[in-house]
């Protein structure tokens, strides 16, 4: 799988390159600023890009801008955005086009190598990877809603993992339950929230996020 990496700190850039190479990715370009990221994305058309939000030359949200512009040219370009801090505002902007293939994670998440690699693959496949902290804040905001109150604790756990973009199998692994009971829980959740079930994981995530007024 071909990947482009954008990260201005050399140490981290090399670390992520190494991590992905060890996990059978082919790093076709590792760049360190916004303009060269845009060029690399348009030139290599990678299967997935891993991008830091803040990049030179302005050290503002240069990475987000490059991603937005690249996705205007290549609408299905999957991008995993990494940041030292996550903002609900940015998460919302990244998801506005409802096209999927978007991830937004704290940089700390690379510590859990297999989960991180899993997230990169999921995004590459057109799925979603939202950071736990964004989702937990979102659930907190919605906790007073009647529909949310009607969920059991376990159902809420399943919902949180689902909103992060994980598949039933991944949810089952995380909560140490069978995949069958996960799909039972998701059925209940969709019933209680009044959402239409969908076989498509990504559409399922977007429906849940929309319900939570993302």
């Amino acid at each position: 799988m071909r990947v482009v990496i954008a990260e201005d700190l050399a140490l981290l850039r090399e670390g992520i390159t190494q991590l992905l190479t060890l996990n059978d990715f082919e790093v076709v370009a590792a760049v360190d600023d916004g303009p060269s990221l845009l060029t690399a994305l348009l030139e290599h058309r990678p299967d997935v890009a891993v991008v830091d939000v803040r990049l030179p030359p302005t050290f503002t949200d240069e990475g987000l801008h490059a991603v937005t512009r690249a996705r205007r040219e290549l609408p299905d370009l999957p991008v995993l955005v990494l940041s030292q801090h996550v903002e609900h505002l940015y998460a919302r902007e990244l998801l506005t086009d409802h096209r999927g293939g978007i991830g937004y994670l704290l940089k700390d998440r690379v510590f859990e190598v297999s989960e991180f690699v899993d997230a990169v693959r999921r995004v590459a496949a057109g799925g979603t990877a939202m950071d736990t902290s964004v989702i937990s804040q979102l659930l907190q905001r919605n906790s007073t809603k009647d529909s949310m109150r009607s969920l059991t604790t376990r159902e809420r756990e399943v919902l949180a993992l689902m909103a992060e973009g994980r598949s039933n199998a991944a949810v089952a692994r995380e909560l140490c339950i069978t995949e069958k009971s996960v799909s039972k829980h998701t059925n209940n959740i969709f019933g209680k929230l009044g959402l239409a079930q969908s076989g498509d994981d990504n559409r399922r995530v977007l429906a849940v996020l929309a319900h939570l007024n993302f």
Binding site: R54, T60, D61, H85, E87, H88, F111, R141
Partner: protein, 435 residues
Amino acid sequence: MPVSSARWPPWPRADLLTWLRDGLVAARRGLAVALLSQLGAVPLLVLSVVSLGLLPLGVGFITLPIALFAVRGLADLHRRFLGSWCGVAIPSPYRPREGDEFELLDVPSSVRYCRLLLTDRSTWRDLLWLLVDVPVGLLLGLLPCWLMIYGIHGVVATPLFWPLMDPGYGYGLIWPVDSTTAALLSFFQGTGILLLGFWSAERLLRAHSRITRRLLSPTAEAYLSRRVAELTETRSAAVDAQAAELRRIERDLHDGAQARLVAIGLKLGLASQMFRKDPDTAYRLLADARAASAQALAELRDLVRGIHPPVLAERGLDGAVRALALDLPIPVQVDIDLPGRPEPPVESAGYFAVAEVLANVAKHSAAGSAWIRLGYADGRLRLVVGDDGGGGAKVREGGGLDGLRRRLAPFDGTLDLHSPVGGPTTVTMELPCVL
């Protein structure tokens, strides 16, 4: 053919009514100020002068501070009323009282205060104002009312009742009124005088406020010394706050991230020692080190957010305030209209001010929704935060809003709270800056 009424300009009835109402309001205010002057000024002027005369006898030391403080109260009342009615703010010129409070009937304190008051130039300007205001205020205040009453007299009483009046009765320019023609002329005169009363009311009130402003505004010297006192105070507050902030950051780093990095290094060292002998323990130590590094990162993230939030650096006030609004558990309507980005210190002060008010909203107001409005006009950045909660908020000494006001003061920023019991609450903050 029907006459098109549209060709004739409609009688500006609404305008006339407004004009008449404004005249009446101005006349009433002029009267109120005049009465205030007479009731307050005359006794206070007498008391002040007598006290000054009695200084050599000692009694004056007791009565003079009382008289002069009362004069200041009266003068401040005039500053406030005339300032707000005529839209010209008249600042108070008095030197801030230094430290100790005045104690009635305590001789040393009275003597000290007499010296303080008598060396303050604004005291003498106050007395001059009293002297001028007694006749001038009376004249300017009573004239519109007198014109209106005399006008009504000419319009109503003279034409109807002139035959019943004493012989030699006259009105306006006509003496005596002894025929229907003369009475009719009085009617027109009266109308003119009445209108003159309405026309003059606001003008005379303005004239009065101009005279008051001339006499009661601080002199350039008083203004500057006040400003210096203000700047000294806010500067020391700013320096203190900065030092406290640095101490907090140092402590947070020392107890948080630094300590965790030491622990991580320790665990990694142990792990490499155990690596061959006891791989299981080494693995566990590595996992611990990883967890500790995540913790350290989380702490650093919080710390950075408190120093200068990344989203503020990346998106400016606009994006950062929107991000704040999204973090609140209730819906917040955000309305931002800024022509540019303020200087970084102002931007940061504005951001933290909005953040603190929003935190208050979330914590105390029990509001169902809130709104934020950011705008820029007349060289001032205006930040307004409102909520539909229970209201009744107050700026308490040492409280959150008081602290916020202090932190805005070094920027010459202001904070106004409007929070009636039952809500809604609005906090309006203004920071002078160039955009």
